[in-house]
Amino acid sequence: MIKDSHFKMDLSLLQAMERERVLEVLRRDKQLRTIEEDRIKRMRYELQDLRRKGAKSFARQYGERTCARCQRPLGKFWNSGAVCCGCSHRICRKCRVGLGATAWKCTVCHAYRDVKIRSGEWFMEEKAKKFPATADKYETVGEKLLKTYNVLSHIAVVPPTPPPHLDYQFLSRSGDLKSSKPFAKSMENLMLSLTSHIKKISTSQNDVREDLLRVENSRRGSCFTFTTQKSLSDTDINKSSNLFKGPSLPNLFKRSKDSDHEGYSTGAEEETSFGSEYSGGNRGSISSISTDCGLFEGVTVAGELQLALAYNTKSSCLEITVGACRNLINGDHKRNKCHPYVKLYVLPEKSSKMKTTVKKNTTDPVYNEVLQYYIEHHLLVGKRLQASVWHSGTLKRKVFLGEVLVPLDGLGFKNKASQCFNWYPLCPKTESPEGGTMEQDGEVVRPKFSSINQGELLQLSSLKYLQERETRLSVRHII
C-alpha cells in the first residue's frame, strides 16, 4: 500500500534558479554521503579483519575444543566455554562482551552489532520494512533525485552501448590465437561461455559455499557427533544472510556482501571458505576486498595527467602513452606519502583494464609507459578513455586521486593534437553509469591487453576454478 506513488516529485515545477539551488544542496549532501561511505567501508574492513583473526585456522582441527575467537583450548568441566547466542560458537570467558546483566555476545558478534549501529544499517533495515517496494534500500531520495538530473544533463554525452559481442572480438584478437583458425574459434566460444558463466558463478558463490559447508559438516560428523550443531549453523547462515546486507553505498558494496558471507557466521564456513579463497587465488572474494578498500577519499582532487594518444593502423591498436603526473595530492594524508599509478579503461568496455607501474613516494611521477589496446579503428567511435590516478597504499588500499575522460571518437590520422603529449587536469569521480560500476566489478577474470601471457594465465586460472568447483560439487554428490 505504501509504494513509491508519492515519489513523483520532481523538480520540474520549480523555477530554474530554485532547481539549481536544490541541486546545490543535494550535491552538498552527496559530499557528505561520500565521506560517510568511506567511513563505513573502513569500518567494515576492520570488522572483516577482526573476523579473520577469529577464524579457526585450518591447521587446527575443528573438532578440537577451543574458543572460536582466541583459539585457546577449552576444558571439559572447568572453563568449558559457552555458546554465543549470535554465532553459535563456543566462546571462552575472555572473548565475551557483556550486554546486560546476563546477556553477552562474543567479540565478533558484538563488533558486528556495533557496526550495524554505527553504519546506520539499522535504519536502512527499518526503512526497507516499510518501503519494501523501493528497489535499492541504500539509495536516499536526494541521491535518486540528483542521479535523475545528472543523467538528464549527461544524456548527450553518454555514448550508446555497443553490442556485447564486440567484447569477444577483442579477446580473440588480443591473444595469439590467430595462428590456427579453428582453435581460435573454439577458444573464442569457450571464452564466451566462460565470461557469461563467471557472472553466474560469482553470484552463486554463496550456494557453493553452502554446499561446501554440508560437505564439511558430514565429513566432520564422522569423527565428532555434530547433529545439533549442524542445524544450528545452517540456520545461522540463513540468519546471517538476512542480516548482513551492505551499508548505504549500494553498488560498491554488492561485492562485499559476498565476502561478508564467508567472513561471518560459522566456523565451518569460515574454514572452508578461507581455504578455498587462498587456493583459488584470483577470485572474486579476494579482489572484492582489495577493491573495497579503494577509498574515494579524493573529494579534493588536484594535479594533472600527461597523456598522448595515437592509433597505430598497422597493428590496429590504440597506443596510450602515459607520460607523467604533476602536483598530485598525497594519497596518504597521515604519512604524507603518495605511491601513484595510472589505471586505464576504454569505456564503456569493462574488460579493458590497463595499469602503469607504481611510482613510490612522489606526487610528480614520471611513467613514460606505452599501453596498447587492440581495437579496430572504426570501433573507437563513441568510446572514451578513462584514465584514473590511484594511490597504492599499504594492504592493497587504493585511494582515488583523480581521473580524466578523453573521447576517442576523432582519434587517428588527422588528429595530430592528441598524438603529442597533453596535460589534462584531473577531475573528481564522474557519476556516469560506466564510471560507477567500474570499481565494483572487481577483477574476476579480465583479460589484460598488451600482455598476451597474462591473458592466457587468467583464462587458465578461471578454468581451474571452474574445474575445482565441479569437483567440489561432485564430492558432495558422492557423499
Binding site: 505504501i2 536544490v22 549532501d29 549501529i117 533495515e125 527499518e126 516499510k130
Partner: protein, 218 residues
C-alpha cells in the same frame, strides 16, 4: 569540518508550517546565531553540527562512553508548493523536529496534519519526534498555551519543548532530546531478536503490519 572522524551520522529533519522558524531554529542550533529576517527556504536545505554524545550505561548508573556524532539537520520548506519534494525527504531522516509557532494558532492546528504526513512518509510509522513550539520569547503575541501543546504531545507520546531561536532558549535541549531518542532506538532495533516480533515494545501495531504489506507488494 566534514571529515570521516566521527562515530555516528545522525540525520534529523525539521518540519512544520511556513514561517514557524525552522531555519532560524537550526541556525541558532548550529551556529548559535539569530537571523530575524524571514528568508523562505527553497525546497530543502541542511546544516551540520558535530556534537559529543555520552551514552547512559544501561546496566549501571555511571555514564558510558562518549561518541562523536555528526548531525545532519535537514531543513524543509514549509510552503505548500514544495510539499511533494519535502515529504519525500522524510523517509531518509532518523528523527524529526515537528515545529509550530507559539504565536500562530493555525500552525499549531496543522501539527496534526504534519503528524499524518510523517506517519505516511517517514521510515517507520512511529518515528522519533520532538514537538517544538518556537518563538517563546514573543510572550505578548502568544496564541498557543503551554497546556494545550503539552496535551497534544502527550497524546502522541512525544516530548514537547518551548524554544526561542531568538534567545536560544531550549533549542539545544530539544535537539539533544531527539538525538537521545534516536540513539536509544538504534540500540533497540539491533538488539531486539528478529525472530520474535512481539517483544514488549509499544509498537505492537507496527510489528503486525509489515508482513502483510510485504505480501501485498509481492
Amino acid at each position: 569540518m566534514t571529515d570521516g572522524d566521527y562515530d555516528y551520522l545522525i540525520k534529523l529533519l525539521a518540519l512544520g508550517d511556513s514561517g514557524v522558524g525552522k531555519t532560524t531554529f537550526l541556525y541558532r542550533y548550529t551556529d548559535n546565531k539569530f537571523n530575524p529576517k524571514f528568508i523562505t527556504t527553497v525546497g530543502i536545505d541542511f546544516r551540520e553540527k558535530r556534537v559529543m554524545y555520552t551514552a547512559a550505561n544501561p546496566n549501571g548508573t555511571t555514564a558510558g562512553k562518549t561518541f562523536k556524532v555528526h548531525l545532519q539537520l535537514w531543513d524543509t520548506a514549509g510552503q505548500e508548493r514544495f510539499r511533494s519534494l519535502t515529504t519525500a525527504f522524510f523517509r531518509d531522516a532518523m528523527g524529526f523536529l515537528l515545529m509550530f509557532d507559539l504565536t500562530s494558532q493555525q500552525s499549531f492546528l496543522n501539527v496534526r496534519n504534519w503528524m499524518s504526513q510523517l506517519q505516511a512518509n517517514a521510515y517507520c510509522e512511529n518515528p522519533d519526534i520532538v514537538l517544538v513550539g518556537n518563538k517563546a520569547d514573543l510572550a505578548d503575541q502568544r496564541e498557543v498555551q503551554e497546556k494545550q501543546a503539552k496535551e497534544l504531545a502527550d497524546k502522541y507520546g512525544i516530548p514537547y519543548f518551548e524554544t526561542s531561536a531568538a534567545t536560544g532558549a531550549e533549542v539545544d535541549k530539544a535537539v539533544i532530546t531527539l538525538l537521545d531518542l534516536v540513539m536509544k532506538r538504534m540500540e533497540q532495533c539491533v538488539d531486539k531478536p528478529p525472530a520474535e516480533p512481539a517483544n514488549g515494545n509499544g509498537a505492537t501495531k507496527l510489528d503486525a503490519a509489515p508482513p502483510n504489506e510485504k505480501k501485498c507488494a509481492c
